[in-house]
Amino acid sequence: MREIVTLQIGGAGNAIGDSFWHVISHEHGVDYASGRFGGTSPLQLERINVFFNATASKRFYARTILIDTEASTIQRLNASSQLYRPENFVAGSESAGNNFARGYHTDGAAILDQVLENTRREVESVDSLQGFQLLHSIGGGTGSGLTSLIMEALVEQYPDNLLCNYVTIPSPNMSQVVVEPYNALLSTPALVNNSHLTFCLDNEALFQICNRNLKLKMSGYEHINHIVALTMSGITTCLRFPGQLNAGLRKIYVNMVPFPRLHFLIPGFAPLVTCKQQQFSKGTVSELVQQIFYSNNLLCAIDLRKGKLLTAAGIFRGRMSPREVDQLMTGVRNKNINNFVDWIPNNIKTAICDIPPRGLKMSATFIGNTTAIQTLFQRLLDASMSMLRRKAHLHWYTGEGMEEQEFQDAQQELQAIIDDYRSSAEGEDSGGGGGGGGGRSGSAESGEEEATPEAHCQYCTE
């Protein structure tokens, strides 16, 4: 019951997907290579069906569809693990070549029907679908273009279900491709209009985490993918283990997203330490609570203090006192009350799960919906603007049938979401794009009454 179908799209999407399945299969006692259960606790099986399909012989498969416009990357996954169903690999014959237009219009469109057919088969085999989880980057052609196309189809065919995106965002420090800003820009309309929850995984922040926190001299994608997988494991803890708040995508959506357009969430994780460093850490709950509010522990290169938190959640894992956790979280909010909007009361949630991640005794995962996300959007907008002003590299896109107007439309959409977040920090005319109303500063009671109906109304209207 309450199952999720995963789609991992493009090279980056499949890389972080593979890391994710590594991590959560281990947490549920399922061997990554063979798919067989070898765990010790009934808790590991109680909600394993949220992400895994089971056979009669206690063999488990990841409920995921592995998608790329070229076959080589996902063929490697097929060879490395029996966790993936062979029929759930969907490969095209030609790479999207880091071009959104080829992902959306040509090479990606060629495999869309197969993707949707595989998705339909998974959807019809589950008991009660709660939504889709899409893993992709927005810097590459497949992860940006094909994902936008898939999202449009999912919203049309499964309008009752939630789309949750885990989006890898390009960084100039790790960029190997000059047109990444264009792909990221063109992805924006689909993420703003069709996603319900978008977790932003910023390569800029991940690069800094590897260099600063972990002191890795030559950080590669394998380290980054592992950090991402740990964080995704934390975010999905409440979906996979019993008894805690936010035990469903829709509840996360209802709690974290005050206005439908403001659904870009920033994850964080603590502790971000190497095995060596862990020896010097006391590993107290107090440390975890402090760390998850450090900008250094966020997977997005932003400063929380430069904006206001609309909503936040802390997910704690391991043996700890629930009373202590709540007191510390309340304490952080009260001490930093100026960094929270005042028109959404009780806008911080806490969940605790006894089962710690592999290799750690305690951990905490942060999810924040903050107006500081503007910083990230502005970076993407600026990067694309400087190239677009001179029409550099535009012919790769217009040559595939796109028009310049589509770039301008996407820039307007990106600017609009920046403005929406900016105005919600001020507490007036919040959630622009809604039909007026919205929360107002001052009266907490008023804010509570107005915010919730707004969210529901917007959902109905959509």
């Binding site: 019951m1 309450r2 008991d127 009660s128 679908l129 709660q130 049309e156 065919q157 499964y158 309008p159 009752d160 279900n161 008894g243 805690q244 708040l245 936010n246 035990a247 469903g248 829709r250 509840k251 209802v254 629930p322 009373r323 709540d326 529901h456 109905c460």
Partner: protein, 110 residues
């Protein structure tokens, strides 16, 4: 599916079927979490843990009317669609959709 009307019928009936399941699951979840609270109370759990479990139950309860409202809306959409497309009445998709509508109506009445 060559007829776009049948395609829309399959989409709409799929939505209603899933929302029916969802509403049922949320209602059942409330009972599950209430049973968990009783067990925690019987085991002499800390007051804080009990309050937390009350919070969990309130969240579950909150989801039920939301789910019901969404189901009601889609039920009406499908009902109207079936009434408008009577000439499809002999198709498998239409019959399946009518069955789904009946199940949804039963769930809405609980």
């Amino acid at each position: 599916m060559t007829d776009p009307r049948i395609r829309q019928l399959v989409i709409k009936s799929g939505v209603v079927r899933r929302l029916t399941r969802e509403k049922y699951c949320y209602a059942k979840e409330v009972l599950t979490e209430q049973a968990r609270l009783e067990k925690l109370r019987g085991d002499g759990a800390d007051d804080h843990v009990l309050r937390k479990q009350e919070e969990v139950i309130q969240e579950c309860i909150m989801m039920v009317p939301d789910s019901k409202r969404r189901l009601q809306k889609e039920y009406e959409v499908l009902e109207k669609y079936l009434a408008d497309e009577q000439d499809l009445i002999e198709t498998d998709s239409y019959k399946k959709a009518a069955e789904i509508l009946k199940d949804a109506k039963a769930e809405l009445e609980t």
